[in-house]
């Protein structure tokens, strides 16, 4: 984006006598919720202040160098203020993953949709429900968790989420709870009369030794223009295990901002796989912190960006304690005039001895006009660590293509086979056959339709 243009846009607004108007003020709710616990009202007020006072990040701020906000600001998003007519299960049948058996909670335009969710028969020790309802029922139950992991968040849009938080999912697993069936958090967005932003806020808390699989999905009805600005806070107790799958497949007009904020207790294991397939403009921040030793954080990702698409993943993994392990492995396929951004930071503090971290980002560019800006960074202040990073940007190897063609396979299919082979490592790691088949099918279809 053009930072200069954005800067020059603003004085005009200021001149129209709106002093100190931040560019995302329009995203703030018109009225504050009444009857809110003091701690939450306080957090909301502080976040509101940050939205006011922090301007939009510009091209000069490091985290936004390659990701322009202009397109996002131009849409004139305002908060979702009314809900669409209640969807019926048959309206969203086609958005479900065939063969995926899950405890499902559905969020429509940022709001819990009980009629689409299937939360009956949850196993002992697992609670899943609406944030709004949880706060109404027991206003102080979440005092120690909500907003605590994310803090101020990665940028002004996280503050906007806190200021505007209205509903979302709360998932609480009791210590020792072993949940076999995956929990599915399905976001469905429906177009409204004008461009709206939904700001769902989710909280996941696993007690000591609890084990859960969370499949987070993002889907749309039709090709609606809308924005999601989500924050998910995850707290893992000692030795807790969370497998987190995120599959974003949204409308070609969709804007998507999400932040995953993770706090890991000692000995806990987080295994997250991010599949970014769609949307017009997507920005994801994965912010990981270790709160105890011997914890493991494994982050995988696969993104596909085609014509008119921007996909941006920012990783911020901070090793502040000794003996923790992190893996960051992201792969991207960019075709047409698509653009991808990968910015991965692994920070190892002075005291974080025996840290083991390895980051890789590999990209396949399928066209001349495809673009990727990749920036893996290691910042290491400890002296007894094992850290590595690597990045590649390449094209399909002509030798591989010729080998397939020499066996009678036509060029288009040969290219798809090689791309799927490249993506396969991440897709296989999803560890769920139904989800993997779904992703493979979508990736295959996208590549088939892609002007290479």
């Amino acid at each position: 984006m053009n930072a200069q243009a954005l800067e020059s846009d603003r004085p005009a607004k200021v001149a129209a006598s709106e002093p100190d108007q931040g560019p995302f003020d329009a995203w703030l709710p018109a009225t504050a919720p009444n009857a809110e616990p003091a701690w939450l009202a306080l957090a909301r007020a502080a976040a509101t202040e940050r939205v006011h006072s922090q301007g939009a990040p510009t091209g000069k701020s490091e985290g936004w160098r390659y990701t322009g906000l202009r397109a996002l600001l131009e849409q004139g998003f305002t908060p979702v203020d009314a809900q669409p007519a209640a969807l019926l299960p048959e309206d969203v049948d086609h958005l479900l993953v065939p063969g995926l058996d899950s405890h499902r909670i559905v969020i429509v335009n940022g709001r819990f949709a009980p009629q689409l969710s299937s939360l009956a028969g949850l196993p002992k020790g697992l609670r899943i429900g609406s944030l709004r309802i949880a706060l109404a029922e027991d206003p102080d139950a979440l005092t120690d968790d909500l907003t605590r992991v994310a803090g101020d968040g990665a940028h002004v849009l996280a503050a906007s989420n806190t200021a505007g938080m209205d509903d979302g999912m709360v998932l609480l697993a009791a210590p020792g709870a072993l949940v076999e069936k995956p929990v599915e958090l399905l976001h469905i967005s429906v177009g409204m009369d004008e461009p709206r932003v939904a700001q769902p806020r989710h909280l996941v808390k696993l007690g000591d030794g609890a084990q859960v699989t969370l499949i987070e999905r993002w889907a749309s009805l039709g090709d609606a223009l809308y924005c999601n600005n989500a924050v998910l806070e995850i707290g893992l107790g000692r030795d807790a295990v969370l497998a987190h799958r995120r599959v974003q497949l949204e409308s070609p007009s969709a804007f998507h901002i999400s932040g995953v904020y993770l706090g890991q207790g000692a000995g806990s294991r987080y295994n997250g796989i991010n599949i970014g397939l769609g949307g017009r403009w997507s920005r994801t921040d994965l912010v990981m912190r270790f709160a105890g030793e011997h914890a493991e954080c494994d982050l995988g990702g696969l993104y596909l960006a085609g014509d008119g698409q921007l996909v941006d993943y920012h990783l911020d993994v901070r090793h502040g304690l000794p003996h923790c392990t992190s893996r960051e492995s992201f792969k991207g396929i960019i075709h047409g005039r698509g653009k991808a951004v990968f910015d991965g930071l692994v920070y190892v503090a002075k005291d974080a001895q025996q840290t083991d971290a390895a980051m890789s980002n590999r990209n396949l560019l399928l066209s001349q006009s495809a673009e990727v800006d990749t920036k893996p960074q290691l910042e290491i202040y400890a002296d007894d660590v094992k850290c590595s990073h690597g990045t590649t940007v390449g094209q399909i190897e002509p030798e591989m293509l010729f080998y397939l063609r020499s066996r009678g396979i036509r060029e288009g299919l040969a290219r798809r086979m090689l791309c799927l082979g490249f993506a396969g490592e991440i897709i296989d790691a999803l560890g769920n056959d139904a989800l993997a088949a779904h992703v493979t099918e979508v990736v295959g279809a996208r590549l088939e339709a892609a002007p290479l």
């Binding site: 397939l404 020499s406 060029e411 090689l418 490249f422």
Partner: protein, 250 residues
């Protein structure tokens, strides 16, 4: 079956094939021998349709079609098969899926339906046995982590499955120990038939002890310098290539 006339081809600015003539009839096995750099592998790749080689002259007819006019995939569907000297690793592409895609591409080209999963697996297992290949190879990505011998056997396995009209074996013996060589040769010999022709490209005579050719050609400086029966291979073994190369230069 295959008729090559006055074939000229460049790699970059360098002319490698300089007017090569070759006639291969149905069911015949021809050996192409020659010193390094004589153009053996170039010939194999030009016939298979590799785009890095530029054909600058001559003609190639295969099964009555102008071969040089066809994409590599169409040549393969018509029944041409190249067993690579260096089989390519395809990370993430499952061997079974690969073979199935290849076989079905060919069937589709000839107006046949796709093979169902059961018939396909049955077919694969039958061919595996002949080549002493392990089942587990089918589940692995194509050639990834295969030993040199496994890669070559995988090539012959593909050939067995695709049943080509003309098989070109490009230095299939290179890098193989004697046991692996025997297995590969047995696999090739099992595929000999009156309808199938073979072009065996090799530097060494020893492969021809196992795969007995009907004709032997010596390639030197981009042309066939000498042709003869299988006894020519023995003569080369004894005297080396020098005398033929010298004759060609003269």
């Amino acid at each position: 079956m295959l008729s090559v006339q006055g074939l000229r081809a460049n790699v970059g600015d360098k002319e490698i094939l300089k007017g090569l003539d070759l006639e291969v009839g149905a069911g015949e096995v021809h050996a192409i021998m020659g010193p390094n750099g004589s153009g053996k592998s170039t010939l194999a790749h030009v016939l298979a349709g590799r785009e890095d080689y530029e054909v600058t002259g001559g003609s190639v007819t295969f099964e009555g079609r102008d071969l040089l006019d066809l994409d590599p995939e169409e040549r393969a569907c018509l029944g041409l098969f190249l067993a690579f000297q260096y089989p390519v690793e395809l990370p993430g592409v499952n061997n079974t899926y690969f073979m199935k895609a290849a076989l079905n591409a060919k069937r589709k080209y000839h107006g046949q339906g796709e093979l169902d999963a059961v018939s396909f697996l049955r077919l694969m297992k039958g061919k595996l046995k002949v080549l002493h290949l392990d089942d587990s190879l089918l589940k692995r990505p194509v050639n990834v982590g295969f030993s040199g011998g496994e890669k070559k056997r995988n090539e012959i396995f593909q050939m067995a499955l695709l049943e080509p009209r003309l098989a070109i074996l490009d230095e299939t013996d290179s890098g193989l120990d004697i046991d692996a060589l025997r297995v590969v040769a047995d696999g090739v010999n099992a595929l000999r038939s009156p309808e199938r022709s073979m072009l065996v490209v090799t530097h060494y005579q020893r492969l021809l002890d196992y795969i007995e050719p009907d004709y032997v050609h010596v390639l030197a400086k981009g042309r066939i310098a000498r042709s003869g029966g299988k006894e020519l291979a023995l003569e080369l073994e004894e005297k080396g290539y020098g005398w033929i190369v010298d004759e060609a230069a003269a």
